[in-house]
């Protein structure tokens, strides 16, 4: 009740806020009522906003002793009926990896925001980067899929955080909002929506005692307190939740289902934005903060007569391979501006037969339009 009353007061209000604040606000609108976190630049503002706002919607904020505990508390809260999120940056994201795997294995819907900063290790703590793209996909051990989205504006950060909650509930899977320090800290205009008009995916709960870990592609959840004595374990388990770590078939069936439920839903999950792709001979593929100067570069080059298109990836995982295959068949070269040494460009190369040229920049400063333009002109000749 308190939640709707408060969020209604924000309806149609315009704000000039940071990406971090937009992620926190998106979470509140999505129905998040639990946040556990640990301070880290450049993500601390998310925790700060949640600490102030959650009590207004009858939710709970807790600052844990580290990032391992933060995601642990989030997973515990979800099984106790909460809708929960944590937020961090590279070093904390590294610490969370084991519990991300636990969330995959136990099919726990939750959202992890990673406002990426320059690494490895402590790196340039206050500078943004896009260095955790592969860690988001492969950071935890064992076979698994991942869902990760990458916003490139403040409004989109808000919208994608809501989307992340929806995807996590729909697929019973952790979802990562892969922001970068630039998007986390720049300020832009945002308009809050009418809470009543938002599409929020509710948690699918079992109506009666059933197998909460199998029997169908995405089984319904049995939360604690539903009087069904659910057993939740990160060990290999049968569809009833009971541990079976020695039967080959049990593990095979479980892990294949966990992967298939995401892999077979690629088309529903994948989001991207195409611009100027009708007549293109060349293509720029980018995402997050680096997609902004990429767009500027494409506009400048088109003004000079080059037939170049732009594909902005919004979903990074599962990888948007179909659209990349489709686009790459029609171009001579692909350019990939990103703030790392080629994490997505290598992945793109796996799906096309044309040259994929990384336009990498590290050091904590985003690309300028002219840097991208020069690189493309050099390669095109």
């Amino acid at each position: 009740m308190k939640r709707t009353v408060y969020l209604k007061t924000l309806k149609n209000q315009t704000r000039f806020i940071q990406g971090d604040e937009a992620a926190a606000s998106g979470a509140l609108f999505a129905g998040c009522n639990f946040f556990a976190g640990y301070p880290i630049t450049p993500a601390s503002e998310i925790a700060e906003l949640m600490a102030g706002e959650l009590p207004k919607v009858d939710g709970y904020y807790i600052q844990m002793e580290d990032e391992i505990a933060s995601l642990g508390a989030v997973i515990g809260a979800v099984w106790a009926g909460g809708k929960a999120m944590t937020a961090t940056s590279g070093p904390g994201f590294s610490l969370m990896q084991e519990n991300i795997g636990y969330a995959c294995m136990t099919e726990t819907p939750c959202v992890i925001v990673n406002v990426q900063r320059s690494g490895p290790s402590t790196g340039q703590a206050t500078k943004g980067a896009q260095g955790d793209i592969m860690q988001a996909r492969w950071g935890t051990h064992g076979d698994h899929e991942m869902i990760a989205v990458s916003p490139n504006s403040i409004q989109e950060t808000f919208d994608l955080t809501i989307k992340a909650f929806n995807l996590s509930e729909k697929y019973r899977h952790p979802v990562i909002v892969l922001m970068d320090g630039e998007i986390g800290h720049i300020r832009e205009r945002i308009v809050f929506p009418d809470i009543k008009k938002l599409d929020i995916v509710p948690r699918k709960l079992a109506q009666e005692k059933c197998d909460p870990f199998g029997g169908m592609k995405i089984p319904p959840m049995i939360e604690f307190g539903m009087k069904h004595q659910v057993h939740v374990t990160g060990s290999t388990h049968k569809s009833n939740g009971m541990r079976d770590v020695s039967t080959k078939e049990v593990h095979d069936e479980l892990v294949r289902r966990l992967c298939d439920k995401i892999a077979t839903s690629r088309d529903e999950i994948v989001m991207f934005e195409e611009k100027f792709t009708n007549d293109m001979e060349f293509l720029v593929i980018s995402y997050g903060a680096s997609s902004r100067p990429s767009k500027g570069a494409v506009l400048a080059l088109r003004k000079d007569g080059m037939k170049i298109g732009l594909l902005r990836l919004i979903t990074l995982w599962p990888f948007p391979d179909k659209i990349i295959k489709k686009c790459s068949a029609r171009v001579k070269k692909i350019f990939v501006p990103e703030m790392n040494l080629g994490q997505i460009s290598r992945e793109i190369q796996r799906f096309c037969n044309v040259d994929v040229i990384p336009v990498s920049k590290i050091g904590g400063v985003p690309h300028t339009i002219s840097e991208i333009v020069i690189k493309i002109r050099e390669a095109v000749g």
């Binding site: 308190k2 009353v5 408060y6 209604k8 007061t9 639990f34 556990a36 009590p55 207004k56 009858d58 709970y60 807790i62 844990m64 002793e65 580290d66 391992i68 505990a69 933060s70 642990g72 508390a73 989030v74 997973i75 515990g76 809260a77 979800v78 099984w79 106790a80 009926g81 909460g82 929960a84 084991e98 519990n99 636990y102 604690f224 307190g225 009087k227 004595q229 659910v230 057993h231 939740v232 374990t233 990160g234 060990s235 939740g241 009971m242 541990r243």
Partner: protein, 274 residues
């Protein structure tokens, strides 16, 4: 006729996997007695465990909601559970490697916060499931698989550590002293705030075997022989208390509980409707 306590267990999973002579069965047995004697509704209990033999005591045998977490993190997961379902008895059971080793940070911070969890640390002085490696509670000079020349690290006095960190109920008993242990476990469950019982338990397979105590009963006899009630410690010289098991209630006090504090904040924050 089936035993009256069997209803508290997931019977289809029995017998347990514990080695013969293990203390785990005694603790599971006590747990069932406690639920019965305290008239607890099993659906009002949420059991959270870590990784290791001790975590297998309730997960999965106890027929309550059971959350079997990552290694060392049971208290962190339980913190989220308790905040969202404060009316439930949230009980953590895990071992010394789990709670005093890899999860030691969560243990002291939960005690500091005084969140209303009940933690039973089953201390068998060893990493049992992985085959007998030295743990943070292994006594000095003991030979384990990873201290082949004898342990040179002094062990944690883990109950005293929790008391110092702010636990409001802290006790230590052994699987030999079942009557006193059961009473302490009940008091810990009833106590509002962070309550903690260190349960000294025997692991003949991975610990006893290496110190010349091949049977569970040998270790239980040691518990009996080495026990000194905390009320009687003044009768002994300091050096006489070394290597003894000081048993009993170490702390019982009251201070504001964490989730109650969160709820008070929420009731203070008022929203004006436009």
């Amino acid at each position: 006729m089936q035993h009256r306590l069997l209803k508290y267990l997931r019977r289809e999973l029995l017998p347990t996997v514990f080695c013969s002579g293990c203390g785990g069965g005694t603790i599971l047995n006590l747990f069932c007695h406690i639920i019965d004697e305290m008239n607890l509704e099993p659906n009002d209990i949420i059991s959270v465990t870590g990784i290791g033999c001790s975590s297998w005591i309730p997960s999965p045998y106890l027929a309550v909601d059971t959350l079997h977490t990552t290694h060392g993190r049971a208290i962190a997961f339980a913190t989220g559970v308790k905040i969202m379902q404060p009316d439930k008895k949230v009980i953590v059971i895990a071992g010394d490697g789990d709670l005093a080793g890899i999860g030691g940070n969560h243990l002291i911070h939960a005690a500091r916060r005084n969140i209303d969890l009940t933690v039973f640390l089953v201390n068998n002085n060893i990493y049992g499931m992985t085959g007998g490696q030295v743990s943070p509670t292994t006594p000095i000079s003991i030979k384990t698989t990873t201290t082949p020349y004898g342990n040179i690290e002094p062990p944690f006095k883990i109950a005293e550590l929790v008391a110092a960190a702010g636990g409001v109920y802290v006790a230590r008993w052994t699987t030999y002293h079942v009557v006193q242990l059961k009473k302490a476990m009940k008091e810990a469950i009833e106590k509002i705030g962070f309550s903690f019982v260190e349960i000294c338990s025997q692991c003949p397979t991975s610990y006893g075997r290496r110190i010349g105590r091949h049977e569970g009963i040998d270790l239980l006899k040691d518990f009996k022989a080495n026990a000194i009630n905390i009320k009687n410690t003044s009768k002994y010289k300091k050096e006489e208390l070394e290597n003894k098991l000081i048993l009993g209630k170490i702390v019982e006090k009251s201070r504001p509980e964490f989730v109650e504090g969160l709820k008070q904040i929420n009731s203070k924050v008022k929203i004006k409707e436009r």
